[in-house]
Amino acid sequence: MSGSPTPPPQRVRVMAPPTRRPRRTTVPGEIDAQSAVGEVYMRSLIRSQLRLALGNLAILVVTVGALPLLFVLVPWLRHGRILGVPLAWLLLGVCCYPVIIGLGLRHVRRAERNERAFQDLVGGPQ
């Protein structure tokens, strides 16, 4: 079988199968498309803010919120006096407020820091 020489096989260019997914390069684009990546970004933002809020709530609960229990458990707190002023009156009438204001300031600072970090991550306007 000498036969005629077969022509050399034609070159075929091999390519990756075409994808339907449009190109999304920005994180806001991923978030808008509700892609898995976008979800991860959103979840990390919400988690960090929720952790912050719960942490500050916990501080409120163990400082201000624990007072009734402490009054019951520690008799000295009930009838102790500082410069003639009953300690319980001082704690409830005055000391609770700086704690509340301080927690508020702390929360605003940290919540805005979380948001700035998120903005840097997704490339918002600088």
Partner: protein
């Protein structure tokens, strides 16, 4: 001039001032947007003073001092709780609520839950809470006028209702914001000035003052029966109820954005704390100088009675007049906010389709104020601070779980929110009704009925979570979460929801 004349004049002056500042606002509020949200042009400092001015009601100005005078240190939890409520609101709700662009709680329910029935239920609950809160304001006005001039109590209640109506109907949100900012400072000054005179006065106090001030169950905390349950129930109701008060939520829409909402709230914490240092001092002074009180019976007029009992002559008359002016500022500012929020809800949900925006707003304001006035005249007397607390208990058992779960948990469904709010609302309202009709029972059962929050709040939360797990989420909840939590500077798609009538 007699004391009656001076105090009547002072109260009248506050009413005129309110209307004057209101009419100044009238000239600059023309569009529907001005009426509902002051077109969102209010700066944080003005807005913080306005929020505080609106929040400090008859219960703060008169009620706390009376309760402290009668029952002692445990009553200090009221002002602490009312302040801490704003902190909890700041931690979980302030920025996301502003970013939701919801104007009222029903708006938020409709937006987050994508459900018309949820909106309707939220509207009904909002009106219920506002009316519960409005009744003690009108009551306080009647009581003040009766104490100071001897006129029947419906006179004071009607006067406040009419002034509020004129202000709200004429100027809407813009003028109210200005009025309330002024009224915060008026209230602070009205408590501070007489206090300076009272503290400088070196008198011996009424007969038996020393014994009354040293009474163990007055000076020491946690002495009463079931005090642990009652205190923690009060803490839960006030810490969690603030975020569910309709007139509080409306205010957040007037902030420019989420950042401004947070900063305004911190300023509010400072302003409230400064104010709440004062009423307990009045309570202690009342204990010392007012011998007529029967133990355990709170007197809402203690603040007003003090100058007349301690000082004499024109000074006493003038200081009483200053206090009366502050009290009227308290009734007017809180009532304005409540009537405004009732008008917002009814105007949007009931009348919005039949009347133009401004007309619907005015008609529903008139309806809300007059209906509550009728209820006030009919209802029995209850200590002002306690009936306000019932409104907090209902708010904490309904709107609080809806807001907290709705903002932070994508799993909350319309069915879950509706059943949870129904369970919490029904149980807490039932307890409230028992209290309003004057029944009181002994034992732990009586304590639960008088302060139901410690049971009803966890029940509402549990119901919402359980039902939500069994039902399907709203279709667009992912987009909703994006809108609630993404800072304004990030350009993302926030969905198409717009509250009715707001823009």
């Amino acid at each position: 001039m007699s004391r009656e004349a001076i105090t009547a004049l002072a109260a009248l002056l506050v009413c005129v001032l309110t209307l004057a500042v209101g009419s100044f606002g009238l000239r600059i509020s023309r569009t529907t947007s001005d009426f509902y949200v002051a077109s969102r042009t209010v700066g944080p400092a003005t807005n913080a003073a306005a929020i505080s001015g609106e929040y400090l009601s008859a219960a703060s100005f008169l009620g706390v001092a009376g309760l402290v005078m009668a029952r002692g240190v445990d009553m200090l939890w009221y002002p602490v709780g009312w302040t801490a409520g704003y902190l909890v609101l700041l931690l979980f709700v302030a920025a996301p609520l502003r970013r939701s662009r919801a104007y009222t709680l029903p708006d938020f329910a409709e937006f987050r839950l994508e459900s018309q029935p949820a909106r309707t239920l939220a509207s009904a609950l909002g009106v219920l809470i506002a009316v519960l809160y409005l009744i003690p304001q009108f009551q306080g006005a009647g009581l003040t006028v009766h104490t100071l001039t001897g006129a029947p109590s419906w006179v004071g209640a009607t006067a406040v209702a009419l002034v509020v109506l004129l202000g709200v109907v004429a100027g809407g949100m813009r003028s109210i914001t200005l009025v309330q900012a002024v009224q915060y400072w008026l209230k602070l000054a009205a408590l501070l000035t007489p206090l300076a005179f009272l503290l400088l006065h070196h008198g011996g106090g009424a007969a038996g003052a020393a014994a009354r001030l040293d009474a163990t169950d007055w000076v020491e905390p946690m002495r009463g029966p079931h005090s642990l349950y009652l205190t923690y129930s009060l803490i839960l109701a006030t810490f969690l109820g603030t975020m569910g008060l309709p007139h509080v939520v409306v205010r957040f829409y007037t902030n420019r954005d989420g950042y401004a909402a947070r900063r305004t709230t911190v300023a509010v914490l400072g302003l409230l704390s400064a104010f709440y240092l004062l009423p307990p001092v009045y309570g202690v002074l009342g204990r010392r100088y007012l011998s007529t009180i029967s133990a355990g019976d709170p007197s809402d007029t203690a603040v007003l009675d003090l100058p007349g009992h301690v000082l004499h002559g024109t000074v006493a008359d003038l200081l009483t007049a200053v206090l009366a002016a502050g009290a009227f500022a308290a009734f007017l500012s809180t009532s304005s906010g409540l009537v405004l929020s009732i008008a917002g809800v009814i105007g949007q949900d009931v009348l919005g389709r039949r009347f133009s925006g401004v007309a619907a707003f005015r008609i529903s304001a008139a309806f809300g104020a007059l209906a509550t006035l009728a209820l006030t005249v009919l209802s029995t007397g209850l200590a002002v601070a306690h009936s306000v607390e019932l409104a907090f208990a209902v708010a904490a058992s309904t709107f609080c779980p809806m807001l907290l779960l709705g903002i932070w948990w994508p799993g909350l469904t319309a069915a879950g929110a509706i059943t949870g709010m129904s369970v919490g609302g029904t149980l807490s309202t039932a307890a409230v009704m028992v209290a309003l009709f004057g029944h009181s029972y002994g034992g732990l059962g009586g304590a639960v009925l008088s302060q139901p929050a410690l049971l009803t709040v966890p029940l509402a939360f549990a119901t919402m979570v359980l039902v939500s797990v069994a039902t399907t989420q709203p279709a667009h909840v992912a987009r909703t979460m994006v809108r609630l939590h993404t800072p304004e500077a990030v350009a993302v798609d926030r969905g198409a929801f717009r509250p009715r009538n707001a823009d």
